[in-house]
Symmetry: C2
Subunit: 79 residues, 2 copies
């Protein structure tokens, strides 16, 4: 049993309104020195497979369902 | 300049409908052996601070805005 950590983030240059609004809200609360906030989605998928199979399955899941290849990139890490 | 990676996930025992629906959708697409899917939110916050300050600020941000302590737990990692 392994856990595939799938990390989906926006590609460079794609607007991140959630991140920008979070940055604004943090600044309104008085936090200083924030240069950028990036919002990222992670799925921890527990799989009954070995590490190599899990990595392959995780990448396939991103391509078929989890990520939008037009604006997002993904990475799969096995834990 | 450091990046504080803030990871916000549901506490043990709290229902995760996003994760459960993702699991169902993946199974409908034919993926086998999925035991569990956990949905997690991550913010990468670029801060003009040293590592110790950034960790403290990140935890404060979670307490004040980013996390809901009733159902979520958070961790801050400096990269």
């Amino acid at each position: 049993m392994v856990v595939a950590e799938i990390r989906i983030e926006l590609k460079q240059g794609v607007a991140d309104p959630e991140g920008q609004n979070t940055k604004k809200a943090l600044e309104l609360l008085g936090f200083k020195g924030i240069k950028n906030v990036k919002s990222i989605k992670v799925f921890d998928i527990e799989l009954d497979a070995d590490a190599a199979e899990a990595k392959k399955a995780g990448e396939e899941m991103c391509r078929k369902l989890l990520a939008n290849p037009v604006i997002q990139k993904f990475s799969v890490q096995i834990k």
